[in-house]
Assembly symmetry: C2
Homo-oligomer: 404 residues x 2
């Protein structure tokens, strides 16, 4: 008799953003006259920049003719894209990453979840709390956690590292030694950052304990301050202990276009096993490359116009972040993030619960945000707003929330 | 200490088509003057048809403007595409499949591998032998097999069902009852087909034994004869025991464009667990939708022009299949398939081993095919040629092989 993967039954409720989507749909259906503004899901709103559109059009034209048509892409990504990634994201920052350490994918969400495929069953994971839900959920599905523990508001067997105002939104190295450590900086959801010196401590810890770091750098394009690393490979020794996830979603508006990549250094070996080879095998067996047209779009992000145009988009969103941060702070809110990240993390007023504040904002102000507790128990009492709306909507939203 | 997923170490050699690719690259480097024709990997060569190109151009234009830009797609696929699939692939054939049973993905290879995510650890799988390697390899990675057994030329704990000329290239219901049965018709690699009555026997068997069938119908567009089902849901009761995989690669030339879908009926429950809900959760957690532009391209395949144009492409490849079948048969080869499938499966001459014949064709005739044994031990002594080349190349290849 067939038996389903019952680890899935341990998952709590549905995926956070699906729940929010459902609540918003229901509210809109019941109140068709209200104009709801979403600063909730981290989804961009600016159109693809001209350099990217031009590249897609060119690639599409190639696909229309037998002489230039492209069938199956190389499993691991086209060399034109991988070499642009290596040159611009790594060599330019002094990181010695090679082409065959870069794996092109259909996006960082897929990679965040699929990477757990190459983990053994008995690894103990550590995550920040609050945290992007995919890291934990994918490991729950893979059976690398215990049951959900309502008292802990988390899964048994997972090391949760509280990141609150008190810790400066940084995790503290835990007493219980984990085997896999998920870090995301600039952070989703708190918008917090880590300095190179602080990150180096995690690299040293991982090497000492033979742990693996999964470093999610999806938001690196939003870094505006010095001394904040764009890649974990800026830290010494990171190529011996870290996998890095990257995305085109937030720096180039590819949320609906789907492209990302993962760096798995060849020096990453545990117990004599090369993770680079394991991931290559996973990619070669369960994936068939990102679409040619989309890989050309990704290449265009690294062209001179592409860089200029996407930088302008990032600046536009960072300006929105400032509008939110400044507006809410002026109205008495306690706000964090927003300086090196597209996320603003605020304390709910009057000790309201996160979901209570979500309902209040949706129903009274017609604003959609994300309840902090949706990212973990230490997100309770916090709330996430994103800077990805239009400037006009962002200004309107701030006015609505603050009543000013 | 981190431990890698050591199930991967059980895998034999590298992925079949990577191995072939490497051999061909090496031959070409050593013999730059030779014009090698590939009838190996099942990769299409005709350009995307005009209706698809038009749809991509239109969608790209939408992505260039704020008012029509699309961010994150619905996890499970856009309704415009899912409803076109339901209407054309199912309702039109009398199959009662609903929109929320269709999950759009980046292709059937991803789905073939990822579907094992929702399987429990202790299921026993059954596969045809020869077989598309992903079914077995993904289960090896997931720990649902034993070690590789050189004597068996396969993995312990896997039920291999020989499909040879003697069985009419159909599997025989095995004595050892499996929990999961992979079936692919029209078949890759043999090009064989199954009648509706024969398939009904498998459905009845699965229901009786509470087994799950994974039905890969990636090649259904090539069916030319009556009484061959295009979908397993044409069989009575299949919605209680079968998941169906579909692709846009072979019917519309999307190998480099990446689009597929999986049907998981809501009536598919085991031990009280709904596989539809499990797969929805998997999709929502580890995937973020196929690109908007590509989903519009998929929709165009179902338009009037799209249907006409893609049907012409399929006919072109079927004509090639006939050129190969007839040419080789005339020269004394024993050939199978090619009538309802883009694959020709031939007996190697003089009892040559499959890889021996591969090397012979590559080195003496400069033709790339796929060694039958690469698909399993019962593929030994067979060889696969594909009809996806140009007509000119196909004719040249047949002339070279037959010397006529």
């Amino acid at each position: 008799m067939f038996t389903p993967n019952k680890n899935y039954l341990r998952l709590q409720g549905s995926y956070l953003f699906s729940t929010i989507g459902k609540k918003v749909r229901e509210y809109k259906e019941a109140n068709p006259d209200k104009r709801v503004i979403s600063l909730g899901i981290g989804d961009v709103t600016l159109p693809l920049c001209p350099a990217v559109i031009k590249a897609i059009n060119k690639a599409t034209e190639e696909m229309a003719h037998a002489g230039s048509f492209r069938g199956y892409a190389p499993d691991l990504g086209y060399e034109f894209l991988r070499s642009a990634i290596v040159a611009n994201d790594y060599k330019a920052r002094g990181c010695d990453i090679e082409i065959d350490e870069v794996f092109v994918s259909d996006g960082a969400k897929s990679d965040s979840g699929n990477i757990s495929d190459i983990f053994g069953d008995n690894n103990k994971i550590a995550v920040c709390d609050p945290v992007y839900p995919v890291y934990v959920d994918s490991n729950v599905m893979g059976g690398r956690t215990g049951e959900y523990n309502p008292e802990k508001e988390g899964f048994d067997g997972v090391v949760y590292m509280p990141c609150t105002a008190e810790t400066g939104f940084l995790p503290v190295i835990p007493e219980e030694v984990p085997d896999i450590i998920y870090l995301c900086f600039p952070n989703n959801p708190t918008g917090g950052t880590i300095t190179k010196d602080e990150l180096q401590k995690w690299v040293d810890f991982a090497i000492e304990k033979k742990a693996l770091i999964i470093y999610d750098a999806a938001y690196e394009a939003y870094i505006t301050e010095e001394n904040i690393p764009h890649s974990i490979y800026e830290c010494e020794g990171a190529k011996k202990c870290a996998i890095e996830l990257r995305s085109f979603s937030k720096n180039a508006g590819f949320t609906g276009t789907r492209l990302g990549f993962t760096v798995v250094p060849k020096t990453l070996t545990y117990d004599g096993v090369s993770l680079n080879q394991l991931w290559a095998r996973r990619h070669g067996t369960k994936f068939n490359g990102a679409p040619y047209i989309i890989q050309r779009a990704g290449e265009a992000v690294y062209s001179e116009e592409g860089k200029k145009e996407t930088k302008e988009q990032v600046k536009y969103y960072l300006d929105n972040a400032k509008i939110i941060s400044d507006g809410l702070a002026k109205a008495g809110y306690t706000v964090f993030g927003g300086k090196n990240a597209p996320y603003i993390w605020l304390k709910t007023p009057d000790n309201m619960k996160s979901w209570e504040f979500f309902d209040y904002l949706l129903e009274e102000k017609n604003i959609v945000g994300t309840p902090g507790v949706g990212f973990g128990p230490h997100g309770e009492g916090y709330f996430r707003l994103t800077a990805f709306g239009s400037k006009e909507n962002t200004e309107t939203a701030v006015k609505r929330i603050t009543g000013q």
